[in-house]
Amino acid sequence: MGWDPAVLARIRHLHLRARVLTESLMMGEHRSRRVGQAVEFADYQEYQPGADLRHLDWKVLARSDRLVIKRFVTETQLPCTVVVDLSGDMDTGTTGRGGYPDLDTSKAGYALTLAATLLFFLHRHGEPVGLELLAGQGAAYTSLPPRTGKNHLQQCFAALATARPGGRANLGQTLLAVGGRTRRRSWVGLITDGMEEPSEWLPAMSAFARRKTDVRLFHLFDRGEWTLDFKDAALFYSPEGGEDLAVDPGGAREAFAEVVDDYVSEVRSGIVRFGGRYVPVGTDVPLEDAIRRAILDGVAEGTWA
């Protein structure tokens, strides 16, 4: 595969952005949720009849005549997959640049940078990382399963750099397929604007839930779009196709706000229902803040491990 200089430049940009962003973040350890045969002591637990006597702390018994069981945590690798929605609707946006003047104002631009940063961060953390692109066009790769190694990371960056938004994601089907490919007890970050009927694609989250996958939905939105921040009436159309709609933003803004609220509530409750986490991410929010909120807050809450 021959690399286009423009593509290479974009990879470099993505890489640099991801690296800068990653290094600016506070790093922390993540631990397995599985408690059992492990290396590092976790805590004590009162002995319960039937517990394995091999873990009985004899010293404590000798000192205090109490039966306690020692518990340990295991340090493991966590396969991580970043899923990026590159449907046509992601190719729109107003003024959000995530704090980077050179960043594309579209939701896709923000999504690609966010994905690259996540991949880099997780790679630096020693986790196997993978990438799944939904819709879009021109991508070098559309599905890269989680692996370790620099070359694999470079492949992920190349996929991100070559991808262009377009077409329809068909979230319901594609998420079902991705869910079928993910490993059990892995981590999945889904970056999408979710602009398909939630009732059609939210049920696909069950595929992740069945594998006990820790799904985190980065619900990407453009604040200008969600507030209908336009002055004049216009014929609005979707890049994915469909009929034009003549809308006067001033007259419809109030009703639009109600619709957005209903829609967010619908998506949030759908994700939570399948055990995922809902992280709304506006494109006007600096990327650092978004990533910190998306990842580090999760670590701080102890939801990983």
């Binding site: 609707d89 779009e225 469909g242 003549a246 639009f256």
Partner: protein, 677 residues
């Protein structure tokens, strides 16, 4: 109410109504296209707004269409004519206030009465008339009275006189009131303000001709109707005693003049004070009848029916005549008492009337001697029996008067009876002069039997089916003969002996009767007391003779406010009229009549000192006053006479124009809010 157009062709402008419809249907389409990444949400918004617009847009269209229609109507210059209350009173400067004080105006309503409200309204009108207005006033019930002899500018004095008025129990006579009002106007145009409830079916129709004269004379009757919150009333519209010597019933009839069914507690009070409670269920706008059984004995006089009804108290009482009930007080004058009761002349007769006492038959024979007749009360006794009385002359005039007043006299012969004395005592009332006693057969023989009676006669009618033959077993061997007489309507032979000798002869004297039994009431001359027919015959005879009589008093029904004239016998003294409370009522003699005008309902008596009442007068309110429902109104009647009298006109053009402008403004505001979505 009517609508007319001065420029009907201008309605063609209404065709412009198509323009806003076309404008409404036109859609504004923006030119700029804009890619949008949340079309899913926008489609949802559009759906939501379309649902709202389905409601909003028809209103916009309606506003536009209505605005144009109003504009077209405004140009057509419509004129609305509608019913107006008055020509403004006082405008002519001649006003007559006519106040209704009839019984129906006493109806209770909202803590007051209709009359009190009408009176207050009339006073207020009198005090508020423009200075210089000539004012008169008429009050009416059954008759109309001018409160002012002529129109006067002194409104305050008229108001004072109106304020002193009170309601009467009389009947409405609107016609008489309008005649007086027209008289006050003196042929000049003016306004007659009528303060009345206009209740009842006849008040307006009876006055129609007078209304016509007033309207044709350029005047108008302006009704200031005082109507109750709900027109309803319950009244006793009639009460009457069903006569019968054994006692009878009082039939009372109540009417409900309201739209709801009513259950009304009533009480019938008899003249002797006995009270009989009864509940009457009345259908809406209907009547009900109840029958009250009168005890076997009751005093004669005037009874009262009272029903509990808060709406119109004046008609809650109804007075009715009750004759002396119970023929018990038959006065039997025993002319031969004998030394033991068994030997008494009337022993059998007395037992035949009341064999087990009064309770069983309702008869109570009072037995006396000829001297006891000095206390004869014609109101108490209806039948007097003279049984073998030797000398009736001392009591002859009293008994003659008793018969002339409607009483019945039964004379039975006997050894003591002498023709001369009887002829002298009862010459004017006997069927025929007595001649002498005559033997029909030897005492040892059976005697002459009675012929079969004519059962077509009232006295023998009960024997038509059976018992008639029993008369043939009655035999007499001696009778008192009569001078020859001619059968007529007044003198009739009721039964004879075989051979033609009269046995029972009757003479009718006015409403009274004299019956002569030519034999004895004991076993002296006949075997009648031992025969089976004796008891039913005697009871029947007394029943027939006493049944329809009601004592000596005249009984007259009258209406409150109307003149009552009571015919008088030839009397030297002027009788008194006693009102319901026993107080004298003003009266006057008019030839052979005494005349008075009762102002309240109740029982009135015409009395002479120391004598039973000459007459009872039961005075009631006119039942027509009880009907408080509205029928034909004065306003309707006048409108029929002059359709323009109560009509006013209003030009609607400017108002419609303004309304159209407002609607156009409204639709513009609505358009500003409605942008293409």
């Amino acid at each position: 109410m009517g609508l007319s157009l001065l420029s009907p062709l201008a309605l063609g402008i209404a065709a412009l109504v198509a323009l806003p419809i076309l404008a409404h249907m036109a859609r504004q389409t923006p030119r700029e296209r804009r890619a949008f990444g949340a079309m899913l949400l926008l489609e949802r918004v559009v759906k939501r707004l379309r649902r709202r617009r389905r409601i909003k847009d028809p209103w916009l269209l309606a506003l536009r269409v209505l605005a144009l229609l109003l504009l077209a109507l405004a140009v057509a210059a419509p004129v609305l004519s509608y019913r107006d209350q008055t020509p403004e009173f006082g405008g002519s400067g001649r006003v007559v206030l006519v106040i209704d004080r009839s019984a129906s105006m006493s109806m209770a309503d909202r803590g007051s009465t209709l009359f009190a409200r009408a009176r207050a309204d009339a006073v207020a009108v009198a005090n508020s008339l423009p200075e210089g207005t000539l004012l008169g006033a008429v009050v009416f019930d059954g008759e109309a009275i001018r409160l002012t002899p002529a129109l006067t500018p002194d409104a305050s004095s008229v108001a004072t006189r109106i304020g002193d008025l009170s309601v009467s129990g009389g009947t409405s006579n609107l016609r008489a009131a309008l005649v007086e009002a027209r008289g006050l106007l003196g042929g000049e145009p003016g306004e007659i303000l009528l303060f009345s409830d206009e209740a009842g079916p006849r008040i307006v129709t009876d006055a129609h001709s007078e209304l016509e004269r007033i309207v044709q004379g350029g005047s108008a009757v302006i009704p200031r109707t005082v109507a109750p919150e709900m027109r309803r009333n319950v009244a006793v519209v009639s009460a009457a005693y069903g006569s019968g010597i054994e006692g009878g019933t009082v039939v009372i009839r109540l009417a409900n003049f309201g739209p709801e069914p009513r259950e009304v507690p009533c009480e019938v009070t008899l003249p002797d004070g006995a009270r009989v409670p009864v509940f009457v269920d009345l259908p809406p706008e209907g009547e009900a009848e109840e029958r009250i059984t009168v005890p076997p004995e009751a005093l004669g006089g005037v009874g009262r029916v009272h029903c509990e009804d808060p709406d119109l108290p004046l008609d809650d009482d109804r007075y009715f005549h009750l004759p002396r009930v119970g023929a018990s007080r038959i006065l039997v004058v025993d002319g031969d008492p004998g030394d033991t009761p068994l030997r008494s002349e009337v022993y059998f007769f007395e037992r035949a009337l009341a064999p087990w006492g009064t309770a069983q038959t309702g008869f109570r024979p009072d037995v006396t001697t000829p001297g006891g007749l000095s206390t004869l009360d014609t109101e108490t006794y209806r039948v007097v029996v003279l049984a073998n009385v030797g000398d009736p002359r001392p009591i002859g005039p009293r008994l003659t008067e008793f018969v002339r007043k409607g009483g019945s006299l039964v004379i039975a012969a006997g050894d003591n009876v002498t023709a001369e004395r009887y002829n002298a005592a009862f010459a004017s009332i006997l069927p025929s002069a007595l001649r002498r006693s005559q033997a029909l057969a030897d005492v040892a023989e059976e005697g002459v039997p009675l012929a079969l009676p004519d059962t077509r006669h009232e006295m023998f009618a009960p024997f038509a089916r059976s018992g008639r033959a029993g008369f043939s077993r009655v035999r007499s061997h001696r009778v008192m003969t009569l001078e020859p007489y001619a059968e007529s309507d007044d003198v009739r032979t009721l039964i004879r002996y075989e051979g033609g000798v009269p046995a029972l002869v009757e003479r009718t004297v006015g409403t009274g009767h004299v019956v002569f039994w030519t034999s004895t009431l004991d076993l002296g001359w006949t075997n009648l007391p031992l025969q089976a027919v004796f008891m039913p015959f005697v009871q029947r005879m007394v029943t027939v003779l006493g049944g329809d009589t009601s004592g000596g008093s005249a009984r007259i029904d009258a209406i409150v406010g109307e003149t009552v004239a009571v015919p008088l016998p030839d009397l030297a003294a002027e009788p008194d009229i006693l009102g319901p409370g026993g107080d004298p009522v003003r009266s006057r003699l008019d030839g052979s009549r005494v005349v008075f005008e009762p102002e309240t309902a109740g029982a009135y008596q015409v009395v002479l000192p120391g004598a039973p009442p000459l007459a009872w007068v039961a005075v009631n309110t006119d039942p027509i006053e009880s009907d408080v429902r509205a029928y034909h109104t004065v306003e309707e009647a006048e409108t029929e006479l002059d359709p323009e009298l109560f009509r006013a006109e209003l030009e609607l053009g400017s108002g419609l124009l303004g309304g159209s402008a407002v609607l156009i403004l409204l639709q513009s505001l609505l358009m500003l809010r409605r942008r293409p979505t």
